[in-house]
Symmetry: none
Subunit: 400 residues, 2 copies
C-alpha cells in the first residue's frame, strides 16, 4: 500500500478541529544578515513557538522551486509528482471561472496577425479594458451557441481564459501558439485519438474569432495554450473523512481548495476578513485552510520591508486563532519567496505545530533557522497532513 | 534495485557482533514538562549517549501510529508498507502457537447463539478457565482427525486461536463474525477462487463446533476472524548473512523474530533473564535482538511513574551490554507509547548507536528531545538495519 491509501484507510471522523494557516511565500534568505521573518517583530508567533513542535518542509524535494499548485497540493497531502494541475485549469481557477467536469479550459492571449504572421504575441499588451471589450464581443457572438458552449473570461492586459463546454473533450492537445513572434499561427494538434474532437473545436474557435476580430487594429487573433480538463482528484472528505473549508480571498487558492472538496467561503479583501470568516464558520467544519497572500506578493515585488510589514500584520491576528482553541494549529508556508530573488524559491518552509499531543522543542523564535533546529526536523510537506490528522486523533493504528 | 535488494547484495558475513536493544514504547510526550524518559534517572544510558551517535526514527512515516508488527518489521529492515502481517498470524505468534508453511490461523471468540442470533459476541467474557475447558472439548473432538488437522489454543477470557492444517488453504477470506450483537452468524466467504477450500473447511468447523457446544449455557458457538497463512518473508540469514537471535520473553516478539529467521531462545519472565540468556548464547550469534516490554505495558496503562521505573530498571542492565563489547550497540524503541495517550503513538523514537566507527555527537542525556538534535537526524526506522550492518563492517561498497 502507498502513503495515500494508508492514510485513507486509517483516517476516522472525529469532532476535533485543525487550523492550517498558510503564510504564502513566508521563507526568505538574508539581506544584511536577516531574513524577512528574522527582521520582523513577531511576538505572537514567537510565543506560540515556545509551546510548539517545529521543523522545516520541502514542498516537492530539495532544490525544486514549486508553483502555487504543487506546493499547496503537497500541504494537503497530495503528491505533487503524481497530481499535476495544468496551467489552464490553474489560470481558470485564478480567474474565478466556474469549471465543471468535462470542461476544457485554456490560457489565451490576444495577438496581432499581419500578412499571415503573428507579429506580436501580446498585441502590444493592450489595456485590460480593451481585453474586456474584446472578450465581450466574442462572448456575444457565442451567446446563443449551445454545442459547444464557449466562454471567454478577461484577465490582465492581453490575457484571458477560454472555456469549452461539450461532451467528449480531452486535453491531450499541443499549444495553439507559435511561442515566438513573426511565425505563422499554429493550430492545436491532438496528441491522442480521443482528443481529435477537442482539437477540431479549438481550431474552429480560433478561426471564427479571427474572422470576428478581423477589423480590430491590434488585437485581431487569439492564441491558446495549456489546455486542461478539470483534473480527477480524490476529495479530502474521502481521503481524510474531513469537512474541510478554505478561507482565502484570492480566487486561485479558493479554486484549488474547491477542486479538493473544500467549501470555499466568500471572503473580503482585508486580512481581518479572513479571521472574521473563520470565526463565523468555525462550528461548521473540522479543517480550516487559511491563506494569507501579502507576504508572497511583497516577496515577488522584491520589497523586503513590505514583506516584513506583511509578516508583522499577520502576527497581530495570531491570538484570534489561539482563542478558538483548535486541537491542532499549524502555521507554515506553501513555499519560500525571498524578496532578494523576487520570486518563489526552493528553500524549505518554517513549520510550527501546536497541539496538546505535541512534544514542544522550546524554540522561542519562529524563524527559518530556529525551525530547522526543531524536533520535526526537515520533512516533505506531504507529511504535514498525516501529522495534523495524527495530532487531532483522526488516524487509527496501522497494523497489529 | 530497491533498498532491500541493495542491502542483500552488499551484505557480507563477518565475526563482528551487533546488539539491538528495543525498549518497547520508550518515547513519550511531556507530563508537567517532562517525558517519562526525561523524568527517569538513566545514568548508564546517558553515559553511553556521550560516546554515541543519536537520532530519532519514524517507524512507518510521520503521523502513522504503528502496531508492534509494522514497527518491528521496519527495525529489522523490512518495509512495513510492503510486508503486512495478518491479525491471525500475530495473535498465533502471541499465543506461542507453532505455525508452519501452509497453516491457516485465525483469531476466535466464543460467543452466545440464541434463537438464530449472536446475542453476545464475547459470551459474557467467560473466565479464562472456561475458555480452556471449551478448547479442550473441541481439541478432543478433533484429536483423531487428520485432514484437516484442527487445533484450538485458549487465550484470555473468550479469546482463542484456531489453526487449520491441510494442503491447499488460502487466506483470502472474509471474517466469520457479524461484528455486532443481535445479528445472525455470518459464514466466511472466499475472496478469491483459490480460497474456496479454506472457506469450506472453516465453515464446516464452525458448524461442527456449534453442534458440539450446543448444550453449553453461555459459550455455544465460535466466531473466527483475521484469517492468515504464515506470510512468505525473506529470512535475515539471506538478506544480511547474519546468524540472528531473539532474546524476548513475550511470545509475539519471539514469534515475529522466528518468522524472520531468528533463533528465539526460551527466556524467563524477569528482566535479568534477558541478559542471562544473551550472555549464555553470545558466542553463538552475530546479531541479537533484545526485547524489553515493561515500558510499553506501563505506557498502555497510562501509568507515568511505572514507565519511569521501567526505564530506570532497564538502565541498570546497560553495563552488562557494554561489558560484552559488541561492535555495534543500538538502543532504541519500536514505537512511542506516551502514558498520556495510553497507547502507541506516531511520535518518533530516540535512537542511540555506539560503535568504534560512529561519529559521536556529544549528547550527554538520552532523551527524545536530545536525540532529535543528534547527528543521525530524523530518519525512517527502515534504515536502522543498514546502519547497524555498516558500523559492524558487514556492508561492502556500492558501485565502483
Amino acid at each position: 500500500m502507498n502513503r495515500e491509501d494508508i492514510v485513507k484507510e486509517l483516517s476516522v471522523q472525529t469532532d476535533s478541529k485543525i487550523i492550517l494557516l498558510v503564510i504564502d511565500g513566508l521563507g526568505g534568505i538574508p539581506v544584511q544578515g536577516k531574513t524577512e521573518l528574522e527582521a520582523a517583530a513577531t511576538h505572537n508567533l514567537d510565543r506560540l513557538a515556545l509551546n510548539a513542535c517545529c521543523g522545516v518542509t520541502d514542498p516537492v524535494f530539495m532544490g525544486i522551486t514549486p508553483g502555487s499548485g504543487p506546493s499547496h497540493l503537497a500541504l494537503f497531502g497530495y503528491d505533487p509528482l503524481r497530481y499535476q494541475l495544468g496551467r489552464g485549469i490553474l489560470e481558470a481557477l485564478g480567474s474565478d471561472v466556474e469549471v465543471r467536469e468535462g470542461d476544457l479550459v485554456a490560457r489565451g492571449n490576444f495577438a496581432t496577425l499581419e500578412g499571415g504572421l503573428i507579429t506580436d504575441r501580446r498585441a502590444g499588451r493592450i489595456p485590460t479594458s480593451e481585453c474586456e471589450r474584446l472578450c465581450a464581443i466574442l462572448n456575444k457572438a457565442y451567446s446563443t451557441q449551445r454545442d459547444p458552449e464557449i466562454a471567454l473570461f478577461a484577465g490582465k492586459e492581453h490575457r484571458f481564459v477560454t472555456r469549452f463546454r461539450t461532451p467528449g473533450l480531452a486535453d491531450a492537445l499541443t499549444d495553439a501558439d507559435p511561442q515566438k513572434d513573426h511565425k505563422p499561427p499554429v493550430p492545436t494538434k491532438a496528441l491522442a485519438p480521443e482528443a481529435a474532437k477537442a482539437a477540431e473545436v479549438v481550431n474552429r474557435f480560433i478561426d471564427e474569432a479571427t474572422k470576428i476580430l478581423k477589423d480590430e487594429p491590434v488585437a485581431n487573433t487569439a492564441l491558446l495554450r495549456g489546455f486542461s480538463l478539470q483534473p480527477s482528484i480524490p476529495q479530502m472528505q474521502d481521503l481524510y473523512k474531513l469537512r474541510p473549508a478554505a478561507v482565502a480571498n484570492y480566487p486561485m487558492y479558493k479554486g484549488l481548495a474547491r477542486l479538493l472538496g473544500m467549501a470555499a467561503y466568500k471572503v473580503g479583501p482585508e486580512t481581518r476578513d479572513l479571521f472574521d470568516t473563520l470565526e463565523t464558520h468555525y462550528k461548521d467544519h473540522d479543517f480550516f485552510y487559511i491563506h494569507y497572500k501579502k507576504t508572497d506578493a511583497a516577496g515577488e515585488d522584491g520589497n523586503f520591508s513590505a514583506k516584513v510589514r506583511a509578516i508583522e500584520e499577520i502576527d497581530t491576528f495570531i491570538p484570534r486563532l489561539v482563542a478558538l482553541k483548535p486541537d491542532v494549529l499549524v502555521i507554515t508556508s506553501d513555499h519560500s519567496t525571498p524578496s532578494l530573488l523576487k520570486g518563489h524559491s526552493w528553500h524549505p518552509n518554517p513549520f510550527l505545530l501546536v497541539s496538546p499531543t505535541a512534544l514542544p522543542d522550546n524554540i522561542g523564535v519562529f524563524t527559518e533557522r530556529e525551525c530547522a533546529q526543531g524536533l520535526l526536523g526537515r520533512f516533505p510537506s506531504l507529511y504535514a497532513m498525516p501529522l495534523m490528522l495524527a495530532h487531532a486523533g483522526k488516524l487509527k493504528k496501522y497494523g497489529a
